[in-house]
């Protein structure tokens, strides 16, 4: 067992772009579920349209990266409107079904042969974020070491910007949720009919919440797309949504820092587990007849499923949350 490798890869994972990706997704879900009580099970779809909106604009249409980012955000708004228009008027479970289906359909379309000329099919789109790295204050190709952490100049730049976006979104959430608008959202979560009887347009508030959280998810997709210089359809499988939910529930829903804290812990644990299992398999601690190297890559998802179930059953309020506040029936 290479403990050094295990520790460095776990600790470096705290700041990497994948963690930012899931934290932003979870922040969006916090607006949806934590504050408004909306059950969006298709956050992966919002993240996908953000990433693909950017990549397709730059690579296929030749627009600048910055226009591409706006296009990605624009697509997320459109998706929220398209799904919210029919589903937000109905009971909560309809939204769950529509969003989970939409996210999966987006992934299937993106990886389909018939859209290959636009979305790149199975292998996605690559190398479109050069403009972002031209602005890098660090040297793109150099490696920088900080004690146990070691990142390339490219990594440092996307991480600085990405965590900046996370902080901005946390600030936005904090300010919005102590405003009158945020109070209406939380009242909708607690008792929709009571809010309606006060003359508030519940449908419009829910729609605004869906759009806002969806845009946060899209920003997550955009950060990862720029960070990897690549978009792949299978990054946006349904389980991505549930890693975000795992992060949100672990950290604590309806708390500004819940998704940030939860995202870091959940993803680092998820990734660390994978490294440990692979190392155990390599070091032949587990016999080959029980686990081959191919199988060792699957184990973490078994744990992901189990962790989601256990977390939801035994500690639905997570680390920071308040159980009473989360007792509403979505």
């Amino acid at each position: 067992m290479n403990w050094n490798l295990i520790f460095t890869s776990i600790f470096s994972a705290i700041f990497i772009k994948e963690t930012i990706f899931y934290v932003l997704g979870a922040q969006g879900l916090n607006i949806h579920y934590g504050y408004t009580g909306l059950m969006n099970f298709g956050q992966a779809g919002f993240m996908a349209v953000g990433a693909y909106g950017l990549a397709v604009s730059v690579e296929t249409f030749g627009w600048s990266l910055w226009v591409g980012i706006l296009v990605g955000i624009g697509w997320a708004i459109l998706l929220a409107l398209l799904l919210g228009l029919p589903a937000l008027r109905l009971r909560g479970d309809y939204l769950a079904i529509v969003t989970i289906a939409a996210a999966e359909i987006i992934r299937l379309v993106a990886r389909s042969e018939s859209t290959e000329s636009v979305a790149g099919g199975n292998s996605g789109i690559n190398n479109f974020a050069g403009a972002f790295y031209d602005l890098n204050p660090w040297v793109n190709t150099r490696r920088y070491d900080f004690g146990p952490f070691s990142y390339s100049g490219q990594d440092l730049w996307i991480q600085a910007v990405g965590w900046g976006v996370v902080l901005l979104m946390a600030l936005l959430t904090f300010l919005l949720m102590r405003s009158p608008w945020g109070r209406v959202l939380r009242s909708i979560r607690e008792n929709e009919d009571a809010v309606r009887s006060l003359g508030k347009n519940v449908y419009a508030y829910k729609m605004q919440s869906l759009v806002l959280g969806g845009v946060m998810g899209a920003l997550g997709g955009i950060v990862l797309a720029i960070g990897n210089q690549s978009v792949q359809p299978d990054t946006f499988a349904t389980r991505t949504t549930f890693i975000c939910y795992g992060a949100l529930i672990l950290g604590g829903a309806a708390r500004v820092w819940g998704p940030v804290l939860g995202g870091i812990i959940f993803y680092v644990a998820f990734r660390g587990l994978d490294v440990i299992i692979r190392q155990m398999e390599k070091a032949d601690i587990v016999p080959e007849s029980i686990m081959t190297s191919t199988q060792s890559g699957v184990v973490r998802f078994v744990f992901l499923g189990g962790a989601l179930m256990l977390l939801m059953v035994f500690r639905p309020q997570g680390i920071l949350g308040d159980r009473k506040e989360l007792a509403f029936d979505g």
Binding site: E18, F41, A101, L108, S293, L304
Partner: protein, 439 residues
């Protein structure tokens, strides 16, 4: 939990069943790109795949030479496909490459589907094993006239629709009786298919008997889930959201246990895999098994319908799904009804999975794909109803297959999404649901 246990015992005797990814026929494992790589035997990037001939029942094409060069045009390697049509070539590093298929090396009578497609340019990520696609044989999917294709597509649509109906009745009734949107229902379909595969291929039991065993085992797994998981959760007063997240956790857990023990490859049953004596209808040859599947599904659905409409207990099931508290107040033992809804629904789902796999082969993720179609179907029919779910799914299956007349096959499921959104916009209670004040 019973599900997981049953599978562990079922497949633990079968070491090393995981195989490398097969690129040519089925969508491969959807390993997310953000995490550390897909299943690999070596750590370096590579290309891999299997060459098959569509003209000849997907028989492997061996001895084909593929030359790979890097973006500078420098040749980095050559690989020749083996007798199984498989090829594997390690690449020096990640980056952009071009694969050139040497047409002269093709066996006699084998032609590329697209004569122009002899070279592919692709990008390989670090540690990625990239599947490359070189289809051979005439592409029958879009080439023939549409009139010739209507009839075979209709027959296949009827097959898909009936199977969706069979698998989705449980999903709809579970929703109706317990309000659980059970995202793990698709895994019950896979479970049935896998259980039958185990009985059939490992224990050499004929598929007809293996199918019945899978039906019973799925029912048992359903009972285990209700007794061990859902009932205690309901008694704790879990929120709707909590139940949904738990069902999704269960779905991820079960699906990856299937992947762990069964592997990512699709595998056939030993019986009826390649069936001679097909009937020529329009442009396609339909094997007898398709008709058998349609007849079996019709019989099963007919029996289920008879049970739900005539039998006392069947009526009780519909009553609980329609209005739980009222049913309970009129003396129906709702707990018992819910238990049998889980048993029956799971058994039907598992059996549907067996029938589905006779034509599509067994795959660890087939249930996941079907689940979305089931949701669209039961929403169309009316969430929570039994007959509505069946009719909605039947219509949807037919619609999806026929839609391939105009849309490419790879995105046919998008039609299901469109149906879902339109239904929610204009008739959210579905074709057979009762209108109630929502939102």
């Amino acid at each position: 939990m019973a599900l997981a246990l049953a599978l562990c015992t079922a497949f633990v005797l079968q070491p090393g069943v995981m195989s490398s990814m097969v690129g040519a026929q089925e969508p491969t494992v959807d390993e997310p790109a953000v995490t550390t790589g897909s299943p690999t035997e070596t750590d370096g990037p590579a290309i891999t795949g299997v060459l098959v001939n569509r003209d000849d029942d997907d028989s492997p094409v061996g001895g084909v030479e593929i030359v790979v060069s890097d973006s500078a045009g420098e040749e980095v390697g050559t690989v020749v496909s083996d007798d199984d049509g498989a090829y594997f070539l390690e690449l020096p590093a990640e980056g952009e490459y071009t694969a050139q298929l040497i047409v002269d090396s093709l066996p006699d009578g084998v032609t590329l589907t697209d004569e122009e497609r002899t070279s592919l340019t692709f990008v390989v990520r670090p540690g990625q094993q990239k599947p490359l696609l070189f289809p051979f044989g005439v592409d029958t999917r879009n080439s023939t006239g549409s009139i010739d294709r209507v009839l075979p597509l209709t027959i296949d649509g009827i097959r898909l629709g009936l199977l969706l109906a069979m698998t989705a009745i449980g999903l709809s009734l579970i929703y109706g009786t317990t309000r659980i949107t059970n995202f793990a229902h698709g895994e019950m379909v896979t479970f049935g298919a896998l259980a039958a595969w185990y009985f059939n291929q490992i224990m050499n039991i004929p598929l007809l008997i293996a199918g019945v065993l899978a039906f019973l085992l799925s029912g048992l797994a359903g009972a285990g889930l209700e007794k061990g998981l859902w009932k205690p959760l309901r008694q704790r007063g879990s929120s709707l959201f909590g139940l949904m997240v738990v069902s999704f956790g269960l779905s991820i857990l079960a699906q990856h246990l299937f992947l762990y023990f069964f592997g990512s490859r699709t595998r056939p049953y030993s019986d009826y895999a390649l069936q001679p004596g097909g009937v020529q209808i329009g442009s396609a040859t339909i094997p007898p098994k398709t008709f058998a599947v349609i007849i079996i599904s019709l019989v099963v659905l007919g029996l289920v319908g008879l049970f739900l409409s005539r039998a006392r207990f069947g009526k009780a099931m519909r009553a609980v799904a329609d209005n739980g508290p009222l049913a309970s107040a009129s003396g129906i033992d709702t707990d018992r009804v819910v238990l049998w809804v889980w048993i029956g629904g799971s058994a039907l789902a598992g059996f549907g999975g067996v029938l589905y796999s006779t034509t599509q082969q067994v795959s660890f993720q087939q249930g996941q794909t079907l689940l979305l179609l089931m949701f669209a179907g039961i929403t169309l029919g009316g969430l929570g109803t039994a007959y509505g779910a069946a009719v909605g799914c039947f219509v949807l299956g037919l619609f999806i297959q026929l839609s391939t007349l105009v849309v490419p096959t790879s995105i046919k499921n998008v039609g299901a999404m469109a149906v879902l959104i339109l239904v929610l916009m204009f008739k959210p209670e579905g074709l057979f649901g009762r209108r109630e004040r929502v939102g």
